[in-house]
């Protein structure tokens, strides 16, 4: 589904990604772990198409197409979804109306008519139950005054509405208490299907107790330096990152 080869990227003139190789197939859950500043969030933004991040070398092939040729919105239409670490507040636009705008923008891109209102409401109701979101929440302005947990739950709610092929969860566990973490992880797990894939980006092993990865990658200084199964996450939790730095001679 996703093949990243020798990806290099710059942010404001600084080289952040220095040769990433990563392959994700349908049905798989991958986790990228790494210390602060290793380039994890940059990688997720580059895949989603943030314009300010410049790809200088390498390729990102998604379902046979070179993603860097497309704008962020076109990548979304193709089925790439990024759950933001810091979702943006949009005062005056309710969660429900934002979802309508988003769903219909995606339908329009596929040459489809707007979704009928009753169908939309039904879908919103179903998906919000999945994330244990109550109705009052849906009529609040998007992310405005939301707690950390509410913001993340709302991100996964959007993911549930869009049903992407590839979901990238950028530090989805940060700022979550244990209950919110459970709800969010539960939502992600329920959305898992044989034809979609998930990339979890995280600092801590904690989230991976709930979303069990098939592969764990360790990122250091803009490169993936070690890959393994889920046991690698436990090892990192126990021993930190220093032993890997030594092992790879960083």
């Amino acid at each position: 589904m996703l093949k990243i080869k020798n990806l290099h990227a710059k942010v404001e003139g600084l080289k952040i990604l220095k040769g990433i190789d990563l392959e994700i197939n349908a049905g798989e859950v991958h986790a990228i772990m790494g210390p602060n500043g290793s380039g994890k969030s940059t990688l997720s933004s580059v895949i989603a198409g943030k314009e300010e991040y410049e790809v200088t070398r390498g390729e990102i092939v998604f379902e046979g197409e070179e993603l860097t040729e497309f704008d962020a919105e076109e990548r979304a239409h193709k089925g790439v979804f990024l759950s933001f670490q810091y979702p943006v507040e949009i005062p005056g636009v309710t969660v429900t109306n934002f979802m309508r705008t988003v769903i219909n923008a995606n339908r329009k891109a596929k040459g489809m008519e707007d979704m009928p209102a009753n169908e939309m409401l039904k879908m919103i109701r179903e998906k919000s139950e999945l994330l244990e979101i109550d109705r009052k929440f849906l009529s609040r302005s998007l992310n405005e005054g939301f707690s950390g947990g509410e913001k993340k739950r709302n991100e996964i709610f959007q993911m549930a509405m869009l049903e992407p092929k590839l979901a990238i969860l950028d530090e989805t566990d940060s700022g979550l208490d244990i209950d919110a973490l459970r709800i969010v992880a539960n939502g992600v797990n329920k959305l898992k299907k044989p034809d979609n894939a998930t990339l979890v980006i995280t600092h801590y092993q904690r989230l991976l107790d709930y979303i069990i990865p098939d592969f764990v990658h360790v990122m250091l200084d803009g490169k993936i330096v070690k890959s393994g199964g889920k046991e690698l996450a436990y090892e990192l939790e126990e021993k930190g990152y220093d032993w890997i730095k030594e092992e790879v001679g960083a």
Binding site: K50, E73, L82, P91, G92, V93, T94
Partner: protein, 437 residues
Amino acid sequence: MELKDKLLSSFLAFEENVDMHSDIHEVRSRAIKDFEEMGFPTKKQEAWKYTSLNKVLKHDYTVFPKKEDTIDYRDVEKYFIDDIDTYKIVFIDGIYASHLSATTHEKIDACLMSSALNNSKYKPIIDNYFNTVAPKESLTSLNTAFSREGAFIHIPKNTMADKPIQVINFSTGNESALLVQPRNLIVVGENSHVQIIERHQSLTDHPVLTNSVTEIYADKRAIVDYYKIQNDNHQASLIDNTFIEQHRESNCSVHTFSFGGNLTRNNLNFYQKGERIDSTLKGITVIGGKQHVDHNTLVHHTEPNCESHQDYKGVFAESSTGVFNGKIIVNKEAQKTNAFQANNNILLDDKATINSKPQLEIFADDVKCSHGCTIGQLDDDALFYLRSRGIPLKEARALLMYAFANNVLESVKIPELKARITKIIALKLGVNVGYSL
């Protein structure tokens, strides 16, 4: 002939037209002398530094409109907030249009200035309040000199107006360029409450200059909510002078929504004369082309424990210009004043301009005053967020501008009006409003 001279010579003819013996004959005569002395404001004056009236004043305006009575309700229906029941005081070219109006004298008076000026029943109110709130200032004096028509609203004490009042000034300038000068007086008694929606709307392409003066007197514990819809066509210019005197524990708000017009100048002054008064001044400006909108506000705190809240937002496209000049005066006696002022702007094009100038004159030492002004572009992170959800760039930009301006609407207390303004903003910004945002 210069417009000033033309106006001075028109004054005699005007006075002959109206009742020479009316009580305000002297007020008018004094006002024309004041105007003669002061003339029109120029950019040399600090308060007019960023707004030039030169172009607007070069038209050969007449102050004697012909009565226009061919306009049918259906032609102008869309300019009313028609999904709620309201009183309506409607003028066409400054002349009362009874067939479009719905006035009242039951419990409250929502009627005409001309009838209030000529009816002895209203003499005490005219004597007590007319031209008492408005300061001596050139354009206000000019309006006073030619004052004859406008809205007269009187809410006696302990009365809640049972429905909002719409004051709508249509202009046709059916012969040539027209200068209209509505004069409104609104007196709200103790513990009383009223909501007013005001609109100026030109119906033709003739140049129209409106120089409007509204005096509002809010007695103790009165609540006044005033909404100004400025969405006129691009040949029409508006100088709106609104003066509000508030007494103890009263609560007044003015929301100004500026989307249309060629040149719009809002002089909005709040004079607080009592303790525990609350004043709210809010505005949304969304303009483009060569439009110009100037908000010139004053809040004068004279007694302790009062508050004022100002929140003005502007979105400026193409070569439009905006001005915000917000003055707050806190007298020595006005301890424990809370005065807030915010002016946030987004410039969409290189040629768009905003001049934002807070002026705080604080003579008391135990006060909280804050002011903040921002001028910026749209946030890249926010744009990326929306685009990553599949919303195309153009719509994402519009949605962010909409969100930026929209929170000013939270304090609008008439839901139908809020919906209307939301729709105008969405249309202006090209956001899809197939549903209510």
